[in-house]
Point group: C2
């Protein structure tokens, strides 16, 4: 496996996903290639793609980035002290799609690779990523379909993967300050190399390729459902939680912003509109209350 | 000086400010007293007051809180190692007012005290706080008035205070990931005890008492100015920056959420509505561009 194979796969994945999303929406992604100014310690480039104010998606951001640095930061080498300070490259595709219709869930997907040169000259690499679904109004069949597709993508790589990555996702996408899950979860993994470079990359591809299968049927099913201002208001309120999670708890976002990453690309994940209001608690038994009690909790969906 | 004097002052200040704001608005503050459940390590109570969806203020939150704990956290004793682990109490009033009209600036004010029992039984206390103004459309006379009022409040306590606290404010309310000031600044101080307990408390009172003088004339001057969707859109976009600052950089907010503070009281500062869009850059020479080039920069206003 060469790192160019990985970057080819990632750029292709970004393009496939965005073509499919643009087709459903009828709109067009802005394609914004960027390059870090030379002279900065972190070198790199990327392609930021975003569709704003579409018919189906109010804001759909999907970025590819590929950076290289002279020294791995300590946060990346907790489990690999022998690589501390080694030259590295990192690449990935990350997306968050914010739909317009409150019955369509928001979704996040990320696939990434980190490679470092060990002191003996050999290259070591590991993978991370996953996807998770954040509904505003809960539908069991959507959560089951999303999880089943995630599970299917991991089956060829061992029966242990889905349960491990499902639990990891529940633990990661948790808003401690609200005592709430971000949504119905999905899968999350990091620091993954246990199937060897080729096997681990195959697993990453399987997860990336599963994204459209996991999400698009849900979009098709919900995008034309009628809704009123009530559902819209609840969507805007719940999007505030997405902002809170990403800015307070998400390591990639928080440290990216604090350490000089490309702000507009990191904040592709922000919703187009979000609201806050004090002690907004839904009426017991309402559809909104049902979201909290039945969906924003840890459950085995498949 | 007794700590009850300080809490009496703070509760009175909250009440005076909110009465004046409610009078301008025509609306009413919700008054929500709360108490931490017994059994938690941090004991305490507070009064959260909030006016939402008013005629002049879309969201105006002002909280008083008074907590006590068995051991000062390390973050509070950097400059006072002898007090590490000492029993403490902390109290303060904190407010953020989000006006409806984009010509009225958003404002933040905070006054607080921390008291700890030294190993020899004596009580040590220090003060912090300040206020800062965040316009969406810049008016020199507003920035000058706000800073002049801050300066006047500090004059009786020494000529050095305003310049020091003005610079401190510029440094604190800076969005590193945007390379932007949050607004036109004001004053900020922390760990302050250099005038002794009584003198330092007098200074705190002078700052707290100056708030309405600093802000209300600006509200009166701007609240009935005509605006269009363009100004509203820019206001919503800029409020996204307020969210970014508070959740990513503000120590009180970020650590409060991560360490189990009362979430709904901490997030009183969030705007009612906020927006994000990609690479939103105003046209050179426009009023919006003028905000960035003339107001969101470090300037000597008085």
């Amino acid at each position: 496996m060469q790192t160019t194979q990985v970057s080819d796969y990632l750029v292709g994945l970004q393009s496939r996903i965005n073509s499919a999303i643009a087709a459903v929406d009828g709109g067009t992604f802005l394609v914004d290639p960027w390059q870090k100014p030379s002279g900065e310690p972190l070198q790199g480039s990327g392609i930021t793609q975003i569709l704003e104010d579409g018919a189906v998606f109010e804001r759909a951001g999907c970025g590819f980035s590929h950076v290289a640095g002279p020294r791995l930061p300590p946060s990346a080498t907790q489990h690999r002290p022998e690589l501390s300070g080694a030259p590295f490259e990192a690449m990935g595709v990350s997306l968050v799609f914010h739909p317009r219709n409150p019955y369509v869930p928001t979704v996040h997907m990320n696939v990434r690779m980190l490679a470092a040169k060990a002191p003996d000259g050999s290259e070591v690499c590991w993978f991370g990523g996953g996807m998770d679904l954040t509904p505003f109004y809960g539908f069991e069949e959507d959560a089951v379909h999303f999880h089943q597709t995630c599970k299917d993508s991991l089956i060829p790589f061992g029966d242990d993967k889905y349960p491990r990555f499902k639990t990891w996702c529940d633990e990661y996408f948790f808003l401690k300050h609200r005592n709430e899950q971000r949504g119905v979860g999905g899968i999350f993994f990091d620091d993954f190399s246990e199937l060897g470079q080729d096997g681990s990359f195959s697993m990453l591809q399987s997860v990336g390729d599963a994204f459209l299968k996991a999400y698009l049927p849900i979009v098709e099913r919900r995008k034309d459902m009628a809704f009123t201002q009530r559902e819209r208001d609840f969507q805007l309120y719940r999007r505030g939680r997405y902002v809170e999670f990403n800015l307070v708890w998400d390591r990639g976002t928080h440290f990216g912003l604090q350490s000089g990453g490309r702000t507009e690309s990191i904040l592709l994940s922000m919703p187009p509109h979000a609201c806050w209001s004090y002690q907004n608690r839904p009426e017991p038994g309402s559809a909104e209350d049902n979201l909290y009690t039945q969906f924003l909790v840890r459950r085995n969906w498949v």
